[in-house]
């Protein structure tokens, strides 16, 4: 299949998924118990029957459901995700504004987890019965089991309170410059603890995958060949085995993007990181359902994008994938 046809097929597929998410969003609003007009009236602080009728007409709630669905899809296509009761702003603007910080947090956490997790996995695979391998095994179970919001707080106690190395919350300091290299440093300083917290969970999982992948790769014939022709062990491991050992790790990492995004909700809440997760927490506190639904849509969009990029990366990295 040539590249253009492949891209077209993938994009159609992504559009289909997005449409399904939109329909789900719409149904969730309408399946929930209670009259949406009543909810809106409630957010406004109560209303008479007359005002309720007006709200119904204004939001098209007196129309049949399929008509309402079409109208909803039309509005979303025009970039209108509704209005936030609490923030009193368009949801689309709120979501767009918070996507950047979340993407920064999630991507940094995944990169840290990939690099450190792979390294731990290699460490464990090279001497499967050694002390290091045992410690990696324990760490891997602990990383899976520790609640991420709690780990974040423990890191705060250690590295922001007992040893005040990193800031407690936020993405930048008020007094610091908001542009240039100084701003980058400031944000990086604030990013360390949240990114480490989030990375910890996935580092544990990737180390498991990398260990299994590395063990399989090191047992393969081409590794015996590489050793037999006299290559150094370092070169055998990092040049020859690693490339194949990484494939399952990257598969998992790509599939898990959505999970990491969900983990970011908890981490952002702990560290007051101004992203989608923190926005989700704030909108729960205020029962601001249009905002929460907008976030669900925005994050589904991010996951679909990440999946597209993972597929494309595969196609580039592994020529065998190009037939599919």
């Amino acid at each position: 299949m040539n590249a253009a046809a492949w891209i077209l097929r993938r994009l159609t597929h992504a559009a289909g998924l997005l449409l399904a998410v939109l329909v789900l969003n719409f149904l969730l609003i309408h399946l929930a118990p209670g009259d949406p007009a009543m909810v809106i009236a409630g957010e406004m602080g109560g209303a008479s029957l007359e005002v309720m009728a007006k709200i119904r007409a204004e939001y098209g709630l007196d129309q049949p459901l399929p008509v309402q669905l079409l109208r909803y899809l039309g509005r979303v296509l025009m970039g209108d995700l509704g209005h936030s009761f609490y923030f009193n702003r368009p949801v689309a603007a709120l979501v767009a504004e918070r996507m950047g910080p979340t993407a920064l947090l999630v991507v940094s956490a995944i990169l840290v987890a990939l690099v450190l997790g792979t390294w731990l996995g290699i460490l464990a695979a090279r001497r499967p019965r050694g002390v290091a391998a045992q410690m990696v095994a324990v760490f891997s179970v602990a990383g899976f089991s520790a609640p991420v919001f709690w780990t974040g707080m423990m890191l705060l106690l250690l590295f922001a309170s007992a040893l005040p190395i990193f800031p407690v919350s936020g993405m930048s300091d008020i007094g610091r410059p908001k542009q240039g290299f100084a701003h980058v440093l400031d944000v990086a300083h604030h990013l360390v603890l949240p990114a480490m917290t989030l990375a910890m969970v996935y580092m544990a999982q990737y180390s498991r995958q990398a260990r299994a992948g590395m063990l399989a790769a090191l047992a393969a014939d081409y590794i015996r060949t590489a050793r037999a022709k006299g290559l150094g062990e370092r070169r055998v491991v990092y040049r020859h085995a690693l490339r194949n050992a990484l494939i399952p790790v990257i598969t998992i990492a790509g599939l898990q993007f959505g999970q990491v995004l969900a983990g970011a909700v908890l981490v952002e809440t702990v560290f007051a990181w101004p992203g989608l997760g923190r926005l989700a927490y704030e909108s729960i506190l205020r029962r601001d359902s249009p905002t929460l639904l907008g976030i669900l849509l925005g994050s589904a969009l991010l996951v679909i994008l990440a999946n597209l990029l993972t597929d494309a990366a595969y196609r580039l990295a592994d020529p065998r994938m190009r037939g599919i």
Partner: protein
């Protein structure tokens, strides 16, 4: 090699695995503390027993929270919701996951393709956010929380077998912890996640209010995971020594 039944062989392998046995001991401790602990300890988790944020002492071993309530008493009660919701949600999740997985493997053509589309659809939605929306729209209770965790997290369980059931139990307990931490648990029930969420603002002044409930959750999930790994190894013929 002795001519013993596979079950006896697996049981022996499990009992000889020190890590798995440690997990079993910790889990037994946590479960019995949750069942009998509140009655034995005799302090009501809702009672104000001292000054707010009293550090751990001889009176209250784990200190008091931001209102002056006994942390240990709340931990003893709080495990019930986490364990109950965790097991129920994992059962729901595994039932949906294996049913859809098996159907997709058995059916052909359009039906198989449709099931794969449904699976993909659920994979695109970040599970925690999806559950947050569902719980918020349908009002939080132990039932809605367990149902929504089960419904949003089944895609990971479609290919599970046998002992791996314990993985989703741990994951579901963490999931419940996260929802309660965000204030989306049953408002009438104490749970470990909820304790951490409520005391969150006082973390730097009263570390014990957050540290101990989190340790309880961590220890419970980890013991379940270690038992799961142990059972898996014991049933795996390749790992037989």
């Amino acid at each position: 090699m002795n001519a013993r039944s596979p079950f006896a062989r697996a049981l022996r392998a499990f009992l000889r695995n020190p890590v798995a046995m440690a997990g079993l001991v910790v889990l037994a401790l946590m479960v019995s503390a949750s069942i009998a602990g509140p009655a034995l300890y005799g302090v009501d988790a809702f009672d104000i027993v001292g000054a707010p944020m009293t550090p751990p002492d001889a009176e209250a071993w784990f200190g008091t929270d931001y209102l002056g309530r006994d942390i240990l008493a709340a931990i003893l009660v709080g495990g019930r919701a986490t364990m109950l919701v965790g097991i129920t949600a994992a059962l729901i999740s595994v039932t949906i996951g294996t049913t859809i997985g098996a159907l997709a493997g058995y059916l052909e053509g359009a039906a198989d393709a449709a099931l794969m589309r449904i699976t993909e659809f659920f994979q695109v939605l970040p599970a925690l956010l999806f559950a947050m929306v569902v719980v918020m729209l349908f009002r939080p209770s132990l039932v809605t929380v367990a149902l929504s965790i089960g419904v949003v997290s089944w895609t990971g369980t479609a290919r599970l077998v046998r002992a791996e059931f314990l993985r989703p139990v741990g994951a579901a307990m963490l999931f419940e912890g996260g929802l309660s931490f965000l204030g989306l648990g049953d408002p009438n029930v104490i749970s470990w996640g909820r304790m951490i969420g409520q005391n969150r603002a006082y973390l730097l002044d009263a570390w014990w209010t957050v540290t101990f409930p989190g340790l309880a959750l961590f220890a419970t999930v980890m013991s379940v995971a270690l038992i799961g790994d142990g059972v898996n190894d014991a049933l795996d013929p390749r790992s037989a020594a």
